[in-house]
Amino acid sequence: MLKCNEIVELIASDKSLTFLGKMELKMHLLMCKHCNNYSKQIEIINNQYKKSIEKVTNTDEVHVQDLEDKVLESVKNKKEQKP
């Protein structure tokens, strides 16, 4: 039988489990309130993390085009520097 600290490790490290491993995890979560809460916290983190990253990675097209032009320009300059 796995202990709580081992269950927590399985959950947070996203280990791929065998069928029996999955069953044991499920059983543990049914019986153990704390690990169940922990597992829900991790789920919340996964979801909110996604939302948060999506928010900060919003880019506008004009800005990106501008950046692409700058990059191309510097690549051209670089090539000219070392023929």
Partner: protein
């Protein structure tokens, strides 16, 4: 966006660079710049610093292109350069990833029998605290670059495990440890901030 150069080989890129074939290089740059910018922002680099970083990655890319191995994808190769540059920017040492204080924080949450000594906060309160995303983004900003990159690749890009390991230059076991630490750092950070706001 054209997918024509989806399969551009390193040799083709090197040739294009040598022959000053700007149209191919432009296509290449157009194909990956958005991805690089988004990745830089995702790693917590903001504003001008993010633009400079992307330019820097491209510049390095063309310097080391002859060392590019055909069996890794351009995207992977670029992301690898980006992570290294971000670590430099943050003055982060890869070795510093060997020990993480979160490990002992987690140990203290259990008794010697492996049972919870300090149980986790109830999830309802936890969810409420992260609703505005303010707390979680503060906590994300405190993550080391490698953990942040690993979590982003794992949860958002849903990249293949082998691909993530290649980008981060870690084993599958290490990747598990990195994810474990990232999630527990976030969890502890959110709990502390939530309690402070009570």
């Amino acid at each position: 966006m054209s997918d024509k150069n989806q399969d551009l080989s390193p040799i083709e890129i090197i040739d294009a660079f040598k022959n000053q074939d700007w149209s191919i290089l432009e296509q290449l740059i157009k194909q990956y710049t958005t991805f690089l910018l988004k990745s830089a922002l995702g790693l917590g680099v903001r504003g001008n610093e993010a633009d400079d970083l992307v330019q820097n990655v491209w510049s390095t890319f063309f310097e080391v292109i002859d060392r590019f191995e055909g069996n890794s994808q351009i995207r992977t190769f670029l992301y690898g350069i980006l992570i290294n540059k971000t670590r430099e920017l943050r003055r982060e040492n890869i070795k510093s990833n060997r020990h993480d204080p979160i490990d002992s924080v987690m140990e203290e949450r259990f008794d010697s029998n492996g049972h919870w000594a300090k149980p986790p906060m109830n999830p309802e309160q936890f969810l409420e605290a992260t609703q505005t995303l303010e707390i979680i983004s503060d906590c994300i900003d405190k993550l080391p670059v490698t953990q942040r990159a690993a979590f982003t690749l794992w949860e958002i890009d849903e990249s293949e495990t082998s691909e993530i390991c290649k980008i981060l230059d870690v084993t599958v076991t290490n990747l598990g440890v990195i994810l474990y630490r990232a999630k527990n750092r976030l969890r502890e950070c959110i709990e502390i901030k939530t309690k402070a706001n009570e």
